[in-house]
């Protein structure tokens, strides 16, 4: 059976159960599905966050995510994967990003999901603007995301 790779960038929210069903439907070769969803938190550094607004570089975001998906598919024995990244205004408590990985056995699914998230955090061209009690401003990138992505580099 061929691998199912789904990559979407969209304003609308996603339904995790529906996406898992789409990934696994009709297949009997999948033994493990790992799901990660990133959610907009309601506080950051002592301030209350009302919402995040995500800007992105459309053509590059698609290209980057596709590259990472291809890397994941070639590094781990996966039956499929799904990456959905939202853009636009996202209120506290709402979904931002979804990563699903499917494999025969759980190790590949867990590792590939973590790899994809670490790379999304470090390399995907999206930028968050936060509305907080202290005002509205751009969120700073975190160095530990670069470090997390770097540990996947083969030596």
């Amino acid at each position: 059976m061929t691998a199912r790779v789904t990559i979407r960038i969209q304003q609308a929210d996603f339904d995790i159960a529906k996406e898992i069903a789409a990934l696994t439907q009709g297949r009997t070769d999948i033994g493990a599905v790992v799901s990660f969803s990133g959610i907009c938190r309601g506080s950051e550094g002592g301030e209350s966050v009302a919402a995040l607004t995500l800007e992105h570089y459309p053509e590059m975001a698609e290209a980057e995510i596709a590259r990472h998906a291809e890397t994941a598919m070639s590094r781990w024995p996966l039956n499929g994967l799904t990456v959905i990244h939202r853009v636009g205004r996202i209120a506290a408590g709402e979904n931002i990003v979804l990563v699903l990985t499917a494999s025969q056995h759980r190790q590949a699914a867990f590792q590939a999901a973590e790899f994809l998230m670490d790379y999304l955090k470090a390399n995907a061209p999206f930028w968050k603007r936060a509305e907080t009690t202290a005002g509205t401003g751009w969120v700073d990138a975190r160095h530990h995301d670069d470090a997390a992505a770097a540990r996947w580099t083969k030596s």
């Binding site: 061209p125 999206f126 930028w127 751009w138 995301d145």
Partner: protein, 83 residues
């Protein structure tokens, strides 16, 4: 070549994209940033800390010493906060 700006780089420059024709002496991403910074105060402000700015050529990340020859689209942006 087309140049695109994102996030606070775009806000400081005052535009999302433009077409530029740098002289042949401007060969790398670094040199392009310095050339743009000299245009006016807005550009100088956007590129005042060049080591913070990231760049992409034709939708792929590049280092500051990458050559710009043959690039169709160059983008400048702050460190990313996706995912």
């Amino acid at each position: 070549m087309k140049v695109k700006y994102f996030a606070w780089v775009r806000e400081r420059v005052g535009k999302a994209e433009e077409t530029v024709e740098p002289p042949a002496s401007v060969r790398t991403v670094d040199e392009l940033m310095a050339w743009l910074a000299r245009r006016d105060e807005s550009y100088a402000y956007a590129f005042e800390r060049p080591r913070v700015i990231r760049a992409a050529i034709d939708h792929a990340h590049v280092k500051p010493d990458a050559t710009i020859a043959g690039a169709r689209e160059i983008a400048f942006f702050p460190p990313m906060t996706g995912g």
